[in-house]
């Protein structure tokens, strides 16, 4: 069946709402407006305003209310328009949802899913374009997901809802219009939310990416293949907890790695991945690990500047080429 990333996310939401009366969706403009990225379009008509609940512009309030509703026995799915606005709710997520289980000595837990858009590429400027998922991946108590394929867009919500802890789901804005085939059989998308996935096998270099970086890395791998360099593309899928085994296994095979992350380099998820490779595969490496990340500027508006600031397929290919040529 032909589908899109957006439609796959919606199908997963519809399935979850239909399957369990404790599940409900809430967020800004998820109902009457149809979702700021049209993910929840049509769900209000289907499930009504109690279960597809429009909220005022009160990120801290409704995210906190989602935590409370989860404590009270519901399975809320909270949508925050973008990760940029989630900073207004970060206190509730980090000081609240993430810490409650441990802080209460295991008495309470928060089965909550928070979805949000992330990433740049649409010239939305510095307050709408950042990739803060790495910050959340820093926090014990959270599980952080980044679907990069149609199957993961369709399949990740169910295990996220089944997870007894708070799960953050990051949808990259450049992926919403991604289209392709997805079989109707649930086996085509059923998945875990623990492991990374090899999206393209190869033996010359590992391109380690997630979210919006995955299609870029696949594109770079095509370019490299034409030059005789066989790149492997590893999709992290789960940013916390990181599946170190899959990463290390790939890098031990290819002996070279390029880490792709739309976040900034300093103090980042990409830095964490490089550290894991140093800790676990240092003697297997034939070259220093390379990174392709966003330049260290608040995201600029102008097209040429935004393009220059972001990871691009050609930058990934160049980084990989250099590693292979240098050894």
């Amino acid at each position: 069946m032909k589908t899109s990333y957006r439609d796959a996310l919606r199908a997963a939401l519809r399935e979850a709402l239909a399957a369990d009366a404790r599940v409900f969706l809430m967020g800004e403009d998820v109902g009457k407006y149809g979702g700021s990225y049209a993910v929840s379009k049509g769900l209000l008509a289907e499930f009504g305003p109690e279960r597809v609940r429009d909220t005022p512009l009160s990120e801290l309030g409704f995210v906190g209310a989602g935590i409370g509703a989860a404590l009270g026995g519901l399975h809320p799915i909270v949508e925050i328009m973008t990760v940029n606005f989630s900073l207004l709710a970060m206190d509730q997520i980090v000081n609240g949802a993430a810490a409650l289980r441990h802080m209460s000595g295991g008495q309470f837990h928060v089965p909550l899913v928070i979805r949000m858009a992330t990433g740049a590429g649409r010239q939305l400027g510095a307050q709408h374009s950042h990739s803060f998922e790495g910050w959340y991946a820093h926090v014990p108590g959270l599980r952080v997901l980044a679907p990069a394929t149609l199957a993961d867009a369709r399949g990740m919500l169910a295990p996220a809802l089944a997870c007894p802890d708070p799960v953050l789901l990051f949808e990259h804005v450049r992926l919403y219009n991604l289209e392709g085939e997805l079989a109707e059989n649930p086996e085509a998308w059923r998945c875990d939310i623990r492991s990374a996935a090899v999206r393209r096998p190869g033996d010359a270099v590992s391109l380690i990416a997630y979210g919006g970086g995955v299609p870029l890395s696949l594109e770079a791998a095509e370019t490299l293949a034409a030059e005789g360099i066989d790149a492997e593309v590893v999709d992290l899928r789960v940013l916390r907890p990181l599946d170190g085994e899959t990463l290390l296994a790939s890098v031990r095979r290819t002996r070279r790695a390029v880490v792709v992350d739309e976040g900034w380099k300093s103090g980042s998820l990409s830095a964490e991945i490089v550290a894991r490779l140093m800790e676990g595969a240092f003697y297997d490496l034939d070259a220093p690990v390379a990174r392709v990340c966003s330049e260290e500027v608040p995201m600029p508006y102008a097209r040429p500047l935004e393009d220059a600031a972001l990871p691009q397929a050609h930058k990934i290919a160049a980084a990989a080429r250099k590693l292979v040529a240098g050894t």
Binding site: D54, P56, R122, G125, H128, E295
Partner: protein, 329 residues
């Protein structure tokens, strides 16, 4: 206020207000057109329908005063005195833009005229306005700060914290709430238990006034009165301007949540044609004068577009400038 009330000020001011509204309207129509042509990208939030608020209110401020605005700020920037060329170039993403192409439509800035920018985090500007007011007080300067925001922002904690701080410290802040009834697709009564916005401000002991945001004369008079209170040292003031946006929230909005009849009814109260009709009825404006004003606005827009098109982008090598102050201490 109805069309038969006499315009409460002299011809020069009346013509100035009308001209500002026309300049905003023509600027924005061009922005929409160039958005369609792909030269302007990202989010573009048009102010069409709300022009009376920026035109009537910003003109009340003095050059020393501070302004904080939102992502729907083309009108405020223009009336404040950001050159139309610099605004258009910014939307085109060019280095000659008022934010060097870094900000775009939502982030117009101009330090020289104390325009502290378009803030695209809803409610994000209010605490800044409080702090600007605090700085004026502590530095014993006579300026005040004016903060524009939509009614959607009153749901944010930042609104409530800012009201309280400004009132508690009796700061010279003018809170200008443009109530256009919708925050994206969410109508006021679907998001607020208390829809009387003035009552919210008053609950913090902030003086609250209301103006007809479709009537530039009402906006101007009420804002002038509010400013007089703020300048007198009586503390902050809140003004609710009842207004309406004629276009969708942004260029991505299919606008499915508003009744067409409602939109058409508000358009009948459009601030430009109602005010010009009133001026004509009073003999303050002839059709020829109106056409001349409009032609002038259009000419300014054409010039701004030509300038924006011809201007170069910032060199990519300069991407990392203006992140921090060079070497620092």
């Amino acid at each position: 206020m109805t069309a038969v009330d006499p315009v409460p000020f002299d011809k020069a001011l009346a013509i100035g207000l009308l001209s500002d509204m026309l300049r905003i309207r023509r600027l924005e129509e061009a922005a929409a057109e160039w958005y369609g042509a792909g030269k302007i990208r990202g989010y573009l939030h048009l102010y069409i329908g709300q022009e009376a608020v920026a035109a009537g209110a910003v003109r009340c401020l003095s050059r020393e005063d501070d302004i904080v605005a939102t992502y729907r700020e083309h009108g405020h920037a223009l009336v404040r005195g950001v050159p139309m060329k610099a605004i258009m170039a910014e939307m085109f993403g060019k280095a000659a833009g008022c934010s060097r192409g870094r900000g775009g439509s939502m982030h117009l800035f101009d330090a020289a005229i104390r325009f502290f920018g378009g803030n695209a985090i809803v409610g994000g500007g209010l605490p800044l306005a409080v702090g600007l007011g605090l700085s004026a007080r502590m530095l014993e300067e006579s300026r005040i700060s004016a903060c524009f925001f939509g009614e959607g922002a009153v749901a944010e904690g930042a609104f409530h914290e800012s009201m309280n701080l400004a009132a508690l410290w009796r700061l010279p802040v003018l809170f200008c709430c443009e109530n256009n009834l919708y925050a994206m697709g969410t109508a006021l009564e679907r998001s607020e238990s208390q829809t009387d916005l003035c009552a919210k401000a008053e609950s913090y002991k902030v003086t609250a006034l209301r103006a007809d945001g479709m009537d530039v004369a009402s906006v101007h008079e009420v804002t002038r009165d509010a400013l007089a209170r703020v300048r007198s040292g009586a503390g902050p003031c809140f003004v609710e301007y009842r207004t309406y946006r004629f276009r969708a929230h942004s260029m991505f909005d299919p606008d499915l949540y508003r009744d067409r009849d409602e939109v058409e009814a508000w358009k009948k109260r459009g601030p430009i044609h109602t005010f010009s009709a009133r001026l004509k009825a009073e003999g303050l404006l002839s059709e020829a004068e109106f056409l001349a004003l409009d032609a002038k606005a259009m000419a300014e827009v054409s010039e701004a577009v030509a300038f924006a098109e011809a201007a170069p982008f910032e060199a990519v090598e300069d991407l990392a400038r203006d992140v921090v102050a060079g070497e620092g201490p």
